[in-house]
């Protein structure tokens, strides 16, 4: 699981080693990556919202 | 071999198309769902002063006498309704937590019955969530007979959580006609009279 999260996070930043990417695409389950991606996107939204609320005081 | 592959492709294409169509239908429905969602969102955040148009229970909390807030009332007329609308009181000063009652006068200056609606708005928008209205003429559509004069109350309080930097709250009511209801159904008139009685 942690591997999947790490890969998706790397994708968010747009950096990924070629070997790691090949590994992901060979054995990784695409559904796991998509779900993790959506969850992390939601986390990102929450994070931005949190920062905004904190900044607004 | 080639045959099989094309068949497989056809199955795949069909599956993709159905999924896409389902997504489309979902997004179209979502667009309409955004309308009520937006209202909920507005209520929670108080965007552009859009306010709750249902009665809220007044809360009997301790009046915060350490601060006084000015509440202004402004009335405006949209086009197409021969009514005069005025706030009896232009502004009041009160403490958060205190309940206040002000009256608004409505006069139908034409010789025909008509329906109108006062659309409320609050400024600053940060105060919107903290205005609690127990009774307001803006909750429902109003009907006035030819030449009728009506005084309607607004009962409200500001809650104690009103942000401390807010010193003035402005309540604006814009009066609009209700299209296609200039000739009311008899039943409507009776219900209304029933309510008043």
């Amino acid at each position: 699981m942690w591997e999947v999260i790490k890969s998706v996070l790397a994708a968010f930043l747009g950096v990924q080693r070629e070997q790691q990417r090949l590994k992901d695409f060979e054995k990784g389950n695409p559904v796991a990556f998509i779900v993790t991606g959506i969850v992390l996107a939601a986390v990102l939204v929450g994070l931005i919202a949190l920062v905004a609320v904190l900044a607004a005081g | 071999m080639v045959r099989n592959e094309t068949d497989e492709r056809q199955v795949g294409v069909k599956r993709t198309v159905w999924r896409s169509v389902a997504a489309l239908a979902g997004m179209f429905a979502f667009a309409f769902a955004l309308v009520p969602l937006y209202d909920v969102f507005c209520k929670v955040t108080g965007i552009n002063g859009k306010v709750d148009t249902t009665a809220q229970a007044l809360v009997h909390e301790d009046v915060d006498e350490s601060r006084t807030v000015t509440v202004q009332f402004i009335t405006r007329s949209g086009s197409g309704l021969p009514w005069r609308m005025e706030a009896e009181t232009r502004q009041v000063r009160l403490h958060p937590g205190q309940t206040s009652e002000v009256y608004f006068t409505f006069v139908n200056q034409s010789d025909a019955v008509s329906w109108g609606r006062a659309v409320p708005s609050v400024s600053p928008s940060t105060a919107t969530r903290h205005v609690r209205k127990a009774s307001c003429f803006c909750f429902e559509e109003q009907q006035l007979q030819a030449g009728e004069r009506l005084e309607l109350p607004l009962v409200f309080q500001l809650d104690r959580d009103l942000p401390p930097e807010v010193g003035t709250v402005t309540l604006v009511y814009t009066l609009y006609p209700i299209e296609g209801r200039s000739e009311p159904l008899q039943a409507d008139v009776q219900t209304k009279q029933g309510e008043e009685a």
Partner: protein
Amino acid sequence: MRTLLVWLAGVLALVGSSQVALARGWNMPVGVSSLSGEIYGLHMTIFWICVVIGVVVFGAMFYSLFRYRHSKGAKSANFHENTTVEIIWTAIPLLILIGMAVPATATLQKIYDPSDADLDVMVTGQQWRWRYEYLGEDVSFNSNLATPRAQINGEEERGEHYLLEVDDPLVLPINRKVRFLFTSDDVMHAWWVPDLAVKQDSIPGFVNENWVRIEEPGIYRGQCAELCGVDHGFMPIVVHAVEEEEFDSWLAERKEAAAEEAMGVDREWGMDELMERGEGVFGSICASCHQAEGQGAPPAFPALAGNQQLIEDADWHIDTVLNGVSGTAMPAFRNTLNPVELASVITYTRNAWGNETGDVIQPSDIAEQLEE
């Protein structure tokens, strides 16, 4: 090779133009309000950050284009990824962005300050003019474009403040916090004066809020900044910022004038004076839609000249002007014109351009109808 020189010249021109951009008239004004200078500072900071990033990125790009020309026999290398470099050029922009977000947030918080103001002004957008009401002071007026149509059509020489001049400017005191409440009678408008760094949409049925504390007396000009129909380009804003005492006496004067005007309602008015007054009101309020000769612009704006319903039914005419017609561009004028103006403009439209009804509508009749 020549290609590259032209490109380089382009980059130099860009840097050069950024210098020019500091000159007044090419850049955002520093402004005269307590916050406008801060907003200008923010703007310039981001601008220079962008210039620096641009120089680095475009520099690297043009260097590569120049240095690794195929025509000079360059052989291409064979690398196509480098995780370290990629992490660095993701992280650095992120840091720069955070650096930008901090001051931007601070300024935004200052803009969103709902604390009490010394003066409340309600600003209403209407096709195509602004209306100002000094809340609690009984002073309100319309502010129309003052540039003559002849200048717009090129029949007259254009003045210095072409399209940025009004008949009745908004007068505000300096050094006092002025709170604006924005709303609209019809479509969306946006009230914008660059020197005050205030731009806010005015939305029908809702109020928006903003504020300003002007620090220097002067005349500041702006325009409507939201497409609002045919004359969107012709509803300017002029603000006269004056010393506090001057403002107080101006306000007292306006109150007195309003009271005097109200007194005039009761007397009997003659046809000629109503026609004269009415022509002026028609020109500034009605002519933008119904046109100078009452010929209208159908289908949106009906003709008034020779309009049978108008000629035959005075009550309908008065009702239309007072209450407007919902679902059209015809607003209710009951609250925005006074009884004298209403009576005179109705009398004028009933007797001008061949509408010879001979009707004289008295201000007192209108006042009575309004106060019923």
